[in-house]
Symmetry: C2
Subunit: 155 residues, 2 copies
């Protein structure tokens, strides 16, 4: 169990030409309650079970516990998930000393692109890539667990 410190931004500029890796991600939620989410993810034929706690006041920091699953386990656990699934491609883009994870969503969240950067501490500085725009850290509408229930296309 570790503390996850992240900041999240909307993406408006071109980023794909700068990406050094990309993966398709499918994920569902066994639990999407506020303050405790249980996520099942399939990424590049591997499964992951991730449990996240409540955010701090700024929305920057959150407890996270993760365990790798076999693909078969992940597929079984995916069947237990709440209705709705998140389908996206994650691009990795380096900027200065940090790697930005840029998620391009499909399906009911088509049109939404967000970038996240993980930090070692809440006050760590980082270079902002040209493709990012408004910060949405802590805005629960952009949590994947919320995008599943209230997809971007319905906003």
């Amino acid at each position: 169990m570790a503390q996850e410190i992240e900041r999240k931004f909307l993406v408006t500029g071109e980023f794909k030409s700068q990406a050094f890796a990309q993966d398709r991600i499918i994920q569902g939620y066994i639990c999407s309650a506020q303050g405790r989410t249980v996520r099942v993810r399939i990424r590049d034929n591997r499964g992951y079970l991730t449990i996240k706690g409540a955010s701090n006041v700024s929305g920057t920091s959150r407890y996270e516990w993760e365990h790798e699953l076999s693909l078969a386990e992940a597929e079984e656990l995916m069947k237990l998930c709440e209705p709705g699934v998140i389908d996206k491609t994650r691009y990795l883009v380096r900027c200065g000393k940090h790697v930005f994870e840029v998620d391009e969503f499909y399906g009911d969240n088509d049109g939404l692109i967000v970038a996240e950067v993980e930090l070692a501490s809440e006050d760590e500085t980082f270079d902002k890539p040209s493709f990012i725009a408004e910060e949405v850290t802590g805005d629960r509408r952009y949590y994947n667990s919320q995008l599943m229930k209230k997809p971007y296309k319905t906003w």
Copy 2:
């Protein structure tokens, strides 16, 4: 992920003298929704994360996935659980070819004692020990995830 096949009975007779082992169990639920529960358990200084799916119609059979946790992980994940905790002692009692798990509850479920037997198939026969009474297999009120929300003392 395996199919768990169990039958559950109320306990009215004396069983402790027949027990060959006992453990104190503390457990909470990150998710207690119908058809998908995520349980954190501490038993004998070990932690377990268990995800269960929906029961079949008879209530006998249910998908179950379990992963062992360190005590520290279990204690952290316990903090994310819904309010309320199940506190009980589990006694193991052999009867014929089977081992019955007899749970004596404390706190808000004080007075409740239930016995469960795990079967290899739904139609497997088993010897009934003298201490068991009415069968409550499939009765959701006796699910631990429900006993947390509507404890026995409030019935």
